[in-house]
């Protein structure tokens, strides 16, 4: 690895000052489970590495039914699974976080870092998209909120300017009859990068079992994670029967633009997007129906 | 007399004959006798005075270890086999 400088600020302001000072030459690090590999491979060559793990604000996970979820960008993925609230109110996002690499990886990697790494195959990003998560981005010019689906712009690149930070992710509390789910396809049963990932969140009207709201996020089937707008919209107002689910799956396939690579062919990915959209919807719908028991 | 079972691709040297009777008390003498009967055999099997490392020899079902000095009986059956390695 090339020589680097390491800095570990303890406040967001300190971090912003460092990023402003170093500009393009700096790279922020949370868990480092992607960045350190990229540095070794020479894919990224920053002179300064700014570690955000010591910033208390960014290590907080707080949830309430009034204010919803505020997930510090540096919270290790494993802490989601360890939170009863997360498992109960955001099972899909929690599953996605629990699928990132091994437990060794999850004890370091964060959901925020997963998003900022900008990988099209990031497991948590489709789950964030499904939940309409917004990222609080702070920079010298102040603060802006960026929707999860707008965060990535191309493989490895995001909307973050070199002098900006993702401080936390914010998600509304689920209303009574809503829930989420995430499934990915990998050749093995753990440790692989998603060949296809599908995150789904649905809200249903218990009275007639119609869909009030639905959002579908897709991973690894385009240059960035995708918000499947049409696929989501087609469900709204409908009874969530096999036909509706199948329509959504077809539209999810339509919005995918996968590539051939060593992890799977484009043809394979297109087929599996349909399969996983059906399966993930089925799980989310079942959860939403039983969510009334809250 | 001992019998040499000729490997498929060397039968071109023996006009297709598979089993060749030979004389000799050890492998070296047997190969010399083969060479006498079918010129060209020696260079297929021997390289500067030793069995080629790529060829193993089976005499009466035992893999040879003494190279050209391996003993041959009148009743012996001799096979030349590609040497194999394991993992």
């Amino acid at each position: 690895m090339h020589a680097i400088n390491y800095e570990a600020p303890t406040t967001v302001d300190q971090a912003l000052k460092l990023l402003a000072a170093h500009g393009e030459k700096a790279r922020a690090i949370c868990g480092g489970t992607d960045l350190i590999i990229q540095l070794r491979a020479g894919v990224r060559r920053p002179e300064h590495v700014v570690d955000l793990k010591n910033i208390a604000d960014m290590r907080k996970l707080s949830f309430s039914l009034q204010h919803g979820l505020r997930l510090g960008a540096a919270v290790p993925a494993i802490e989601l699974h360890e939170s009863a609230d997360m498992r109960r109110y955001y099972p899909g996002l929690t599953e996605a976080a629990h699928l990132i690499g091994s437990l060794q990886i999850q004890s370091r990697a964060s959901v925020g870092g997963n998003l900022c790494n900008g990988s099209p195959a990031a497991d948590t990003t489709p789950a964030l998209i499904a939940l309409a998560a917004k990222g609080r981005v702070v920079g010298p010019k102040g603060e802006r909120m960026v929707a999860a689906e707008d965060f990535c712009v191309s493989p490895g690149r995001t909307v973050l300017n070199p002098d900006e930070l993702l401080v936390d992710l914010q998600i509304a509390a689920p209303s009574g009859h809503s829930s989420d789910a995430y499934l990915r396809f990998i050749p093995r049963n753990e440790m692989d990068i998603a060949v296809v990932g599908v995150g789904v969140a649905v809200t249903i009207d218990p009275a007639d079992d119609r869909c009030i709201d639905a959002r579908i996020g897709l991973g690894a089937v385009g240059p960035t994670p995708i918000f499947a707008k049409e696929a989501s919209a087609t469900l709204v107002g409908k009874k969530l029967d096999a036909a509706a689910i199948d329509k959504a799956a077809q539209l999810a396939i339509a919005v995918s633009s996968p590539i051939d690579d060593m992890r799977g062919t484009a043809e394979f990915r297109r087929h599996v997007v349909g399969v996983l959209t059906r399966r993930t919807l089925a799980i989310a719908i079942e959860r939403a129906r039983s969510a009334s028991s809250r | 007399m001992a019998i040499v079972v000729v490997p498929a691709l060397l039968r071109k040297l023996t006009d297709g004959v598979e089993r060749v009777p030979v004389t000799g008390r050890n492998l070296g003498q047997v190969i010399e006798d083969l060479e006498r009967q079918f010129p060209g055999f020696r260079e297929q099997l021997v390289q500067n005075g030793e069995m080629k490392p790529s060829i193993a020899v089976s005499i009466d079902g035992e893999m040879g270890t003494g190279g050209l000095l391996d003993r041959v009986k009148d009743s012996s059956e001799i096979f030349f086999i590609p040497a194999i390695g394991g993992g």
Binding site: P187, E190, M191, F268 | K52, E62, I81, P82, G85, G87
Partner: protein, 763 residues
């Protein structure tokens, strides 16, 4: 415990804790990369970014100028060795190819081929310096498959490689072998069912967790020492001497603990480079490969293309087989296609057969041995077709194999007859397992059976047994212990000496301490070195009898030694335990050392039969292994726990090969999956409990009856999984690995085919 061969063993067959166990669970065991010396330097290789290119020039000035860089090396710093085949280690090797594989001279022949190296004060600096070496390449077209390589007019990899069969032309075909028996045409005429298919298996890697490593120290007296993780210290000594141009007797190789090999650590990559660097700099030098280096540039095993045709009568008697097989050798000749040819139908009596086998060079890393090299590829073809024939005949797959199985006296593929073997016994044992007797129900579930054969090898071993004053013994051997063979050897010595397994302290010694010993490979270590240990212990016992004879004024022939006690029929009052006589070594002639050196002839071959249950996800093509059982003839298990471990490990590797493991190259011949994220070996979530059944048909000629156990378990699984998938889906897969995209494609093709048929039928 009563041994299957009638002998009664007290230690053999028990399960003592391995002698090197505590060091390994406490992190104290020293592996090659764990060695460090003051003032040590670190070496790194420059590797080719191209699959095939001519090296026009190499400029190392900038690298040399980087602070901390102590030396830079290219092929010019190594002797240019002639094309010469030598037998070093276990298999013959061409030393010119060997040295060019370590350091390319005029051409790079695969992505990752080393062509220069740097030695610096830190691994980071060495890495930075490697990036500063400037190479001018003339890029040549890559030849990636045996089909391309064998085409007339194909790009030639090695100018000196010539085809003697057809008019002495340049070629990529390094060798052609043929095996023939009976009349194949007549044989197929007499067949009621004939199946012919073409199979392809991907290049796969052994996947040992420990990367290759070497630490070398060259002294001003012209003598050098190499510490490394290898399967054969004497092979490292011989091969390194050739490559480095240093006399063999001036090199000592010290065996570090080894973190897996499976055949991949029989040859060398770094050892002579580190030694030459040490000679250049006068300092100790350490070289350790990255995982990417291991995958790109060490020796995986061959991908292959196999056309196999077999026929049987309607009552299930095999009558003919015709095989054409070509294996990727990698950049230099030497694929295991010969072994593939001699194993592909080895388990069966087939009166008429012809097998043509081709060793083909391609722009991929030079292949190395991998657990029963060549046999798994071959079994994927033959065992799939056998299963299909059994299905056609409506005969249970185990019974079909039983009625065609080879037994003592049957001819092997190359001609010689089998001695006592246990193939039939493994099939009968399988039929009695709870697994095979259980019912497998549910959609897209299937059970597959396949069998495998492996020769096992003998070769040379040395052993020394020292008896100590307290009646314990120390055992010195030259065989590297990769999986617990030290414990097995100690148990053999303990059995003969009539003492406890833990009263024998085994030690794997360096090349100056023990006599020549061939590599740990070919499943030979427990068995063949076991013979040396057995004889060395007997030699010690012979001397014990002489000492007792001296004390009791008897002849040595009058002394008996049983269970560690000396006695004589001539005088029942006289008894001496080993502990007691050990105290008297000094006044009866001094210490006792037993020794033996062997070159073992016939060793017992092994057969294994594996049964796998799978469930296929019809929508994704993903295969779940529900249950797996391997039944193997082990002759006589020395330490059953480690025999089971060998079988479970081989089965696991076979399942990985069947499902997801493969080298993926792009159209330019660049390896895409050079890490363990995308070279997908099974994790513990991908495997069920692997059940093992040890069948014990003693190997003739072995003092204990043991057979090699390490390799054969990897032979059946790929075919067994393919057969299970066939039973689950009706699809016969012809490509390994049977990865989700491949299987899904086949599933959809079948479904659509069925639909269009239905449509055609107007339904």
């Amino acid at each position: 415990m009563a041994a299957s061969n009638g002998k009664n063993f007290k230690v053999i067959g028990t399960r003592p804790i391995r002698h090197d166990g505590v060091d390994k669970v406490t992190g104290r065991a020293k592996y090659g990369a764990d060695y460090a010396f003051p003032d040590m330097l670190f070496g790194k290789m420059l590797r080719s970014p191209y699959a095939h290119a001519r090296i026009k020039s190499i400029n190392t000035d900038k690298a040399k100028a980087l602070p901390g860089v102590m030396a830079v090396m290219t092929a010019a710093d190594l002797p240019d060795l002639p094309d010469r085949v030598e037998s070093a280690g276990e298999a013959p090797i061409n030393v010119a190819h060997l040295t060019q594989n370590l350091m390319a001279r005029d051409k790079v022949l695969y992505n990752g081929h080393a062509l220069a190296a740097v030695c610096a004060t830190s691994p980071h600096i060495a890495e930075e310096a490697v990036a500063l070496i400037e190479v001018d390449y003339e890029i040549l077209p890559p030849v990636m498959t045996v089909e391309e390589a064998m085409k007339p007019g194909a790009t030639i990899l090695l100018p000196n490689l010539r085809n003697k069969e057809e008019g002495d032309k340049q070629t990529n075909v390094a060798s052609h072998l043929q095996f023939k028996r009976g009349d194949v045409a007549e044989g197929f005429k007499s067949a009621d069912y004939v199946v012919e298919r073409e199979f392809k298996t991907a290049m796969v890697h052994q996947g040992y967790i420990e990367p290759h490593n070497a630490v070398a120290m060259y002294n001003s007296d012209g003598k050098g020492t190499i510490w490394c993780s290898t399967q054969g210290t004497f092979a490292v000594r011989g091969l390194s001497a050739a490559v480095a141009g240093i006399p063999e007797q001036d090199i000592k190789v010290v065996p570090a603990e080894i973190g897996g090999g499976f055949g991949g650590k029989l040859t060398i990559y770094l050892e002579p480079i580190a030694l030459v660097f040490s000679k250049m700099t006068g300092k100790p030098v350490k070289m350790v490969m990255s995982r990417a280096d291991v995958l790109r540039a060490t020796g995986p095993t061959s991908g292959s293309t196999i056309r196999c045709k077999m026929g049987c009568t309607k009552d299930g008697k095999l009558v003919a087989a015709q095989v054409w097989m070509a294996y990727e050798a990698g950049a230099y000749p030497g694929s295991p296609v010969g072994a593939g040819a001699m194993t592909i139908i080895a388990p069966y009596v087939i009166p008429n057969m012809i097998i043509d086998a081709y060793d083909v060079v391609v722009n991929r890393p030079k292949t190395a041995a991998y657990r029963a090299p060549g046999a798994t590829n071959a079994a994927m073809a033959s065992e799939t077709i056998i299963d299909e024939l059994a299905e056609m005949c409506g005969i249970d797959p185990a019974d079909f194999r039983l009625q065609n199985a080879v037994a003592e006296g049957a001819a092997q593929t190359a001609g010689p007859p089998y001695k006592k073997i246990g193939f039939v016994e493994t099939l009968e044992a399988l039929k009695n397992t709870p697994h095979y007797k259980s019912k497998l129900e549910g959609p897209y579930r299937g059970r597959g059976v396949a069998s495998g054969f492996w020769f096992n090898i003998g070769l040379q071993s040395s052993a020394v047994v020292n008896l100590h004053g307290d009646g314990t013994a120390s055992l010195v051997i030259g065989s590297i212990d990769i999986g617990g063979t030290r414990a097995a050897q100690a148990m053999v010595a303990a059995e003969v000496l009539g003492i406890g397994a833990l009263d024998v302290r085994p030690q794997v010694a360096d090349t100056d301490t023990i006599g020549y010993t061939d590599v740990t490979g070919g499943s030979r270590t427990a068995v063949t070195t076991g013979v040396a240990v057995f004889q060395a212990a007997e030699d010690a016992v012979r001397q014990l009898k002489e000492r007792a004879a001296k004390l009791w004024e008897k002849k040595p022939e009058e002394i008996a030694y049983t269970d560690g006690v000396l006695s004589t029929a001539a005088d029942p009052s006289k008894k001496l335990t080993l502990k007691e006589i050990a105290k008297q070594f000094a006044r009866t002639g001094g210490p006792i050392t037993g020794r033996a050196n062997v070159n073992v002839r016939g060793v017992g071959p092994s057969f294994a039969t594996t049964c796998v249950d799978v469930e296929v996800d019809p929508d994704t093509g993903k295969v779940k292994i529900l249950r797996a059982t391997c039944v193997q003839d082990v002759g006589k298990a020395l330490h059953p726990s480690y025999v089971e471990g060998q079988i479970q490990g081989g089965t696991a590797q076979g399942i990985g090969w069947a499902l997801n493991e493969e080298y993926v190259y792009d159209d330019k011949g660049i390896l895409r999956n050079f890490g363990l994220l995308d070279y997908r070996m099974p994790t513990c979530l991908d495997l069920p409990e692997i059940e093992t059944v040890l069948v014990e048909v003693p190997a003739p000629g072995h003092p204990i009856g043991s057979r090699g156990v390490g390799e054969v378990p990897i032979v059946p699984p790929v075919a067994a999984v393919a057969n299970a998938i066939a039973r689950a889906t009706g699809i016969r897969m012809e490509v390994a690995p049977m990865s989700p995209p491949r299987l899904l494609k086949a599933l959809l093709k079948k479904r659509n085919g069925a639909d269009s048929q239905a449509a055609a039928a107007g339904r």
